[in-house]
C-alpha cells in the first residue's frame, strides 16, 4: 500500500464471487447430507469417523505447510475435504486407525511432497483409500448391516452382511431389490450406498458449478453401456445396469472423486474422453480385478493419463485453428506451401522472459 492507502491490482477489477473457499465449502456442504444419512443408518460413529478424518488431514496439512516453510492458508480447506471424503468410502465399522492411516498417506504422501494444494498428481483420497485397501482388505471391505447402532469407541462387533458389489463379483444376483439399494438400505461404503442423496448432492454441485457435468455423464454412460453389453449376473440387462451403477462406490466416485479439478483434464472434449475411458477401465477392473470394487485403483490409473487427454485436445484445437486439419488444395500455378505441422517440441532450455506481472 502506498501513502494514499491504495493497493495496485491488475485488470480485470471485477471478479467472480466464487473463490477457493466457496468451492471447498460447497464440497463440504454436499458431503454433509451423506454423513447425516450415515448417522441415521449406523449411529454417531459415522460422524466421529468423519471428524477424525477431517481433523487428521487438517493437522497434517498444517505440519506440511510448516515443513515447507509456508504459513498455512486457513481458508484452504482442501485437506479437510480429503479428510471428509475418506471415511465415506469405508464401512462404518472400520477402526479409527485405518481412517487415520488413510489420511496420513493421502496428505503426507500425495499432497505435500508434490507441492501441496493444486499440485497433487493423484486424487489424495483415492490413494489413501487404496493404501488401506491393500493393507487391510478384510477390514475395508466388510460392511455392517444398516440400521444398527454401532459402538462409538473401541472394537466394533457388528453384524456384517455381504454387499451387492461382492455378490456381483461372485456372479450372483444381489439379494436386495433396486429400491432398497437406491435408498441406501444395503451394505456398502458409508457414504456411497444412498444413491438418491448422492444424486441430489451431485445436482447441487452441478448447479453451483463446483463440478462439471461432462466427466460424470460420460463415465456413467460408458459404465451403463458396458454393464448392458456384458452383464455380470445371469439376469436381465437393464437390471444389470441398475446394479452396477448402484453397487460399490461408483456413483459416489463419479460425483466427488472423478471431478477433482487438479487431477482431471481441463478441456471440455478431453473431459468427455477422460470420463469415457475411466468408465471402461473401471468396468474392466470390476470384471477382472481382485477386489469387489476396484474403482479407486482405476481412478489412480486414469489420473496419470489425464494430462494426455488435455494434450490431445490441444493438438486437435491447434490444428483446427491453423487450418492444418485438412490439407489445403494449392491454387493452380502457385507453389505448394509446406504443411504447417508442428510437432510437440522436446523440453528445451528454459529461458526466462520478462513479464509485467507482479505489481
Amino acid at each position: 500500500m502506498n501513502e494514499h492507502g491504495l493497493i495496485l491490482q491488475n485488470a480485470p477489477h471485477v471478479r467472480t464471487s466464487e473463490s477457493l473457499f466457496t468451492v471447498m465449502t460447497d464440497m463440504i456442504v454436499a458431503m454433509a447430507p451423506l454423513y447425516l444419512i450415515a448417522w441415521f443408518y449406523y449411529g454417531p460413529r459415522a460422524l466421529l469417523l468423519g471428524l477424525t478424518g477431517a481433523a487428521t488431514a487438517w493437522v497434517l496439512d498444517l505440519l506440511g505447510a510448516l515443513a515447507c516453510g509456508r504459513r498455512m492458508d486457513l481458508r484452504d480447506l482442501s485437506a479437510v475435504v480429503t479428510g471428509l471424503l475418506i471415511p465415506l468410502l469405508m464401512p462404518a465399522s472400520i477402526p479409527y486407525y485405518v481412517v487415520v492411516t488413510a489420511c496420513v498417506v493421502a496428505i503426507l504422501a500425495v499432497k505435500f511432497p508434490f507441492g501441496g494444494t493444486g499440485n497433487n498428481l493423484f486424487n489424495p483420497a483415492a490413494v489413501g483409500f487404496a493404501f488401506t485397501a491393500i493393507c487391510w482388505p478384510e477390514l475395508v471391505f466388510s460392511y455392517p448391516a444398516p440400521m444398527q447402532e454401532l459402538a462409538v469407541a473401541g472394537e466394533v462387533a457388528a453384524k456384517t452382511i455381504v454387499s451387492p458389489a461382492h455378490s456381483l463379483m461372485r456372479g450372483a444376483i444381489p439379494s436386495l431389490d433396486l429400491f432398497d439399494m437406491i435408498l441406501g438400505n444395503t451394505a456398502g461404503p458409508m457414504g456411497a450406498t444412498n444413491i438418491l442423496v448422492i444424486l441430489a448432492c451431485g445436482l447441487y454441485l452441478l448447479v453451483r458449478r463446483t463440478i462439471g457435468w461432462r466427466t460424470p455423464l460420460s463415465f456413467l454412460l460408458v459404465v451403463g453401456m458396458m454393464a448392458m453389453a456384458w452383464p455380470r449376473s445371469p439376469f436381465g440387462t437393464f437390471d444389470s445396469v441398475g446394479w452396477e451403477l448402484c453397487s460399490g462406490m461408483l456413483l459416489f466416485g463419479a460425483v466427488f472423486m472423478m471431478t477433482e479439478p487438479v487431477t482431471s483434464p481441463k478441456r471440455d472434449f478431453a473431459k468427455l474422453l477422460y470420463g469415457a475411458t475411466s468408465g471402461a477401465v473401471v468396468m474392466l477392473f470390476r470384471y477382472f480385478g481382485g477386489f469387489e470394487d476396484g474403482f479407486v485403483f482405476a481412478l489412480i490409473l486414469m489420473n496419470v493419463f489425464a494430462p494426455l487427454f488435455d494434450r490431445v485436445c490441444e493438438n486437435i484445437l491447434h490444428q483446427i485453428r491453423h487450418g492444418t486439419l485438412l490439407p489445403k488444395k494449392p491454387a493452380p500455378g502457385a507453389e505448394n506451401p509446406p504443411k504447417e505441422r508442428k510437432k510437440l517440441p522436446k523440453p528445451g532450455l528454459k529461458k526466462k522472459t520478462e513479464t509485467e506481472v507482479g505489481v
Binding site: 492411516t101 511432497p113 491393500i134 493393507c135
Partner: protein, 217 residues
C-alpha cells in the same frame, strides 16, 4: 609432508561426505532400484549391503588397472566380469543371515552385480583416481548404502510386517509398506531429510553429485 597431510585431510573429508551428504543412493541416485524394491526387511537390507560391498569394492580397486590395459569399449564388460565373479563370494557371505534370504530377495541380489557404481561410476570417475581414493570411495559408498538400506528396510519391516529381524514386535501392521511404491516414497522422504541436514550443516555435496548445487548453501 604438509602437502600430503592437507591432501589426506581433504580426502578424508570428501569420503566422510560420501557417507551421508553425498550418499550414493539418496543424493547420487545410484543403485536405486535394488535398494528400494529389495529392502523390505532388515535381513534383506543387510544382505544387500554386504553384497554391494563385496561386489563393488574390488571393481573400484581394479578400475585403474583395467583402464590401463583395456580399450574404452571393453572396459565395462571387464568391470561386470569382475563384479559377477565376486558374486559367488557375496552369496556365500550372505547365506548365514537367514535360510530364506535368497527367496525373499529374488533377483535383486544378483542384479546388484550390475549396479550403477560398477557400470557408470567406475568408468567415469574411478579410472582416473588412485587406489587409496578408490578404496575409500568403496568403503564410504558401502557405508552409505548400508545406512539407507537399514533405514528403509527397518521401517518397512517394523511397520509393514510387525517384525524386526524376524522377531515379532508389533501387532498391527500395514502390509502395503512392503510394496515397491512405499519404498520409493520412503526413499524420497529420506532424500529430503538428507538434503535438509545438508543445508543445516552447510555442507557441500560431492562435486560429481552436486548437479550445479555447489554454490548453494
Amino acid at each position: 609432508m604438509k602437502k600430503m597431510n592437507a591432501a589426506a585431510a581433504s580426502l578424508m573429508k570428501d569420503s566422510f561426505r560420501k557417507i551421508l551428504f553425498s550418499n550414493p543412493v539418496l543424493v547420487g541416485g545410484m543403485v536405486v532400484g535394488e535398494i528400494i524394491i529389495g529392502a523390505t526387511s532388515l535381513q534383506n537390507a543387510v544382505a544387500l549391503s554386504v553384497t554391494f560391498a563385496i561386489v563393488t569394492i574390488p571393481v573400484l580397486l581394479l578400475a585403474p588397472l583395467i583402464a590401463y590395459f583395456v580399450p574404452k569399449t571393453w572396459r565395462i564388460l571387464c568391470y561386470a566380469l569382475v563384479s559377477m565373479s565376486m558374486l559367488f563370494t557375496a552369496q556365500a557371505a550372505v547365506a548365514p543371515i537367514s535360510p530364506t534370504i535368497f527367496d525373499s530377495l529374488g533377483i535383486y541380489l544378483p542384479l546388484l552385480a550390475l549396479n550403477t557404481v560398477v557400470v557408470a561410476y567406475s568408468r567415469l570417475i574411478s579410472e582416473e583416481k588412485g587406489v587409496v581414493f578408490n578404496l575409500l570411495d568403496g568403503i564410504c559408498f558401502s557405508l552409505g548404502f548400508l545406512i539407507v538400506a537399514v533405514l528403509i528396510g527397518g521401517l518397512r519391516e517394523l511397520f509393514g510386517s510387525g517384525t524386526l529381524w524376524g522377531y515379532e514386535i508389533l501387532q498391527r501392521k500395514a502390509s502395503a509398506l512392503k510394496l515397491p511404491f512405499s519404498g520409493f516414497l520412503i526413499a524420497g522422504f529420506l532424500a529430503a531429510a538428507v538434503e535438509g541436514l545438508r543445508i543445516l550443516f552447510h555442507a557441500k555435496p560431492y562435486e560429481h553429485f552436486s548437479g550445479g548445487k555447489e554454490d548453494q548453501k
